[in-house]
């Protein structure tokens, strides 16, 4: 029981991180119907920016943890969303109206580029951060096994939930959200009604990148080690989460993220940690066979 509870806590934390990345996939897919393969790399850049900001703050003497955390979060969101914007502007916008595979291939190229760009600039070896937020609660103890709920895990889940709530309000009740939903339905019509489609798409990439940056900060704090390759697997899993929840649906992405986090944690806890990625991937295949529109998604209608 205690062991189960511990895996549940770990799974929720992991799921929160995947959910944040999955939102970026699902939003971009909703609005322009492409899989943004470079999104995992954006998350990786978020992690690097947060690590760099931590050390830079340390160098100028900001050591009060809450202040440092807030500054790191803001800096990561700002710089990473600049990357998200640039990627869209450089690699995707010129390709609207090109043949079907073009944006996909361009996105893969971008993903390869960003990975090697970070590797060349920051070195290939693993980067580490000493623990910043320590301590936590001991929930229960049975038979020598104590269930730990660290402050960091609480922060991760709370920040994720808060961001998602704010974000849902934005989609539902602001002019930007309205423009996004309009573009999602019919881009030409939205443009005819005076919506700046290019700007709306850029903003979507900005927001997706900012959320991925938050995930990057969280993962840097949680694991304490990052390298230039972390975006690949995390991106895969977040994409699986988005498909599981129903691609295009934001609540679906969050739900999918938590489910994937749980599957990974429980698989690693009860079976073997070597094959936890295989398990997540198996879920993706099963979902695509039995419920391709996902848990909360609408079936896709093909138009001529």
């Amino acid at each position: 029981m205690a062991y189960f509870l511990q895996q549940l806590i770990n799974g929720l934390t992991l799921g929160a991180i995947y959910a944040l990345i999955a939102i970026g996939y699902t939003m971009v897919y909703g609005i322009i119907g492409m899989i943004n393969f470079a999104h995992g790399e954006i998350y990786m850049i978020g992690a690097f920016v947060s690590l760099i900001t931590f050390f830079a703050l340390g160098a100028v003497g900001v050591t009060w943890v809450p202040l440092a955390l807030v500054l790191v979060l803001l800096s990561a969101m700002f710089f990473t969303s600049a990357y998200g914007w640039t990627v869209e502007r450089v690699a995707y916008r010129p390709l609207r109206g090109s043949f079907r595979l073009a944006p996909l291939i361009s996105a893969i190229g971008m993903s390869i580029f960003l990975q090697n760009y970070v590797q060349l600039l920051q070195g290939a070896q693993v980067k580490s951060l000493p623990p910043v937020v320590t301590g936590g609660f001991r929930l229960m103890e049975t038979g020598g096994f104590a269930v730990q709920l660290s402050y960091l895990q609480i922060i991760i889940v709370l920040v994720t939930l808060a961001l998602m709530a704010g974000f849902s309000v934005m989609i539902a009740a602001t002019p930007l959200g309205r423009a996004q939903r309009a573009c999602e339905q019919d881009m030409t019509m939205a443009a005819l009604l005076g919506i700046d489609v290019d700007r709306t798409i850029s903003t979507t990439f900005l927001i997706g990148a900012a959320l991925a940056a938050v995930a990057g900060v969280m993962v840097t704090l949680y694991y304490g080690v990052i390298d230039f390759f972390i975006g690949f697997l995390a991106g895969m899993k977040a994409f699986t989460a988005a498909v599981l929840g129903g691609i295009g649906s934001i609540p679906g992405a969050v739900l999918g993220g938590f489910i994937i986090g749980m599957i990974e944690a429980f698989w690693a806890g009860y079976f073997s940690s070597a094959y936890k990625d295989v398990a997540v991937f198996g879920v993706l295949i099963l979902v695509l066979i039995f419920r391709p529109s996902g848990l909360l998604g609408r079936p896709e209608i093909e138009k001529v």
Binding site: F55, A56, S106, M110, Q115, S128
Partner: protein
């Protein structure tokens, strides 16, 4: 655009470059954990260089003449497209005499073998991506299936190269069918991500299933091809005869390199003819029709799942063959040879080669495989350039650098769908 507007635009681009460059170029974590011990370094000059480069670059791009909408393809592509047959035969002639040229060496023959293996991979993936329009991002996984089929059958049942070759192709194709079958009913993007995941999964399984695959250490002593049962080795294995003994010549290592080279070349020619034939068969036309317009093809009675599946299976089959050659060339396989970089390299060959043109892919394979041989410096930037090139080609030359991506057959004259007023 007037000059004022252009400068403004360039300044804006430079500003974005400043923001983007500050964290990753301006700060340096690469010294972390080394002897000098500094956790973080600063590189303000790198940021300045990035900003200036982007500003100047944007100005230059703006000052260049804007490409016309209906643009003539570049001269090189036109030349290659017109003289495909002659160029192909010339290339083949050079390939045949290659080991006997005066400057030829074991190293050059071996390098040419590698190039031809990548050509086969490129042609195989060209069928999937270029002809059928399906994106396979885990191509290295099928390559791995082929290579490991040879390595494992030789390790467990002492099979040789020639016995394992057909089995490797069939195994890879079967794996491809099993993987693609559930996904092909859906949008093409799903196939891309599933194959990407599959590429990673195969690697994880090869590393972790140590009792069967020998794990991360790989398998040594993979058999090389024999000449009708005569091995090309210095000493004959118990009672047998070697190639050199049978023909009463002295053994030298070059014989082995040259023999493998010709075997590879022979299979590459077969593969090439096979694909050329396929393109002219109804199935090949169905691939191209599906690529151009799925709904219209379906209305004309093409079964999309079956047709796509056949393309995917042919691609996997050819990857399986190429994998056997790869394993035999190195005489060694390990999981790390089949990472995502490998898949990306083959994809870059196909994209650069013009997505489906045999000759274009062959040229791209020659360039992309030999370039890293020119030096470590280049090898370091290789993947960075691949990535940038893939984006750039999609933007400026979606048809690839070396060829024209045209349908293999068309009805009547080639004329624009809409008359362009003069």
């Amino acid at each position: 655009m007037d000059l004022r507007g252009l400068v403004k635009e360039a300044a804006l681009a430079a500003f974005v470059a400043l923001i983007v460059a500050i964290p990753l170029a301006g700060f340096d974590l690469s010294q972390q954990g080394t002897a000098n011990g500094a956790q973080i370094g600063f590189r303000p000059s790198w940021v300045a260089i990035a900003v200036v480069t982007v500003f100047v670059g944007r100005l230059v791009i703006g000052l260049l003449p804007r490409p016309q909408r209906r643009e003539r393809p570049p001269v090189v592509s036109l030349f290659i497209a017109r003289h495909q047959r002659v160029l192909g035969l010339t290339g083949l002639a050079i390939a045949i005499v290659w080991p006997y040229l005066p400057f030829s060496s074991d190293y050059l023959v071996d390098l040419a073998t590698e190039v031809i293996i990548y050509m086969m991979l490129g042609w195989g993936l060209g069928v999937v991506v270029g002809l059928a329009g399906l994106l396979n991002l885990g191509y290295a996984a099928f390559y791995a299936v082929g290579a490991y089929t040879l390595a494992l059958t030789s390790a467990y049942w002492a099979w040789g190269f020639w016995e394992a070759l057909p089995l490797a192709g069939v195994t890879a194709a079967a794996v491809g069918i099993l993987l693609a079958l559930p996904v092909l009913r859906l949008r093409g993007d799903y196939l891309a991500i599933v194959t990407l995941g599959f590429g990673e999964i195969i690697r994880i399984i090869l590393i972790n299933w140590q009792s069967f695959t020998y794990g991360p250490n790989g398998i040594n002593g993979v058999p090389r091809p024999t000449f009708f049962g005569l091995p090309l080795v210095a000493r004959a294995p118990r009672g047998g005869e070697t190639f050199a003994q049978f023909f009463h010549i002295d053994f030298s290592l070059s014989q082995r390199y040259i023999f493998l080279y010709f075997v590879t070349l022979a299979l590459a020619i077969v593969v090439n003819l096979f694909i050329l034939r396929l393109r002219r068969l109804p199935i090949g036309r169905a691939w191209e029709a599906l690529r151009e317009d799925e709904i219209a093809s379906r209305a004309l009675g093409i079964n999309p799942v079956g047709v796509k599946l056949s393309a995917f299976a042919v691609g996997a089959l050819l990857a399986g063959f190429a994998g056997v050659f790869f394993a035999a060339r190195q005489s060694f396989v390990s999981p790390e040879s089949f990472n995502f970089q490998e898949s990306a390299t083959v994809l870059a060959i196909v994209v650069l080669g013009g997505m489906g043109s045999q000759l274009g892919i062959a040229l791209a394979a020659i360039i992309l495989v030999t370039l890293p041989e020119f030096g470590r410096d280049f090898a370091q930037f290789r993947m960075l350039l691949f990535g940038a090139a893939m984006v750039g080609i999609m933007i400026w030359r979606p048809r690839g650098f070396f060829s024209l991506r045209t349908p293999s057959i068309r009805l009547g004259e080639d004329r624009p769908l809409v008359e362009v007023p003069k």
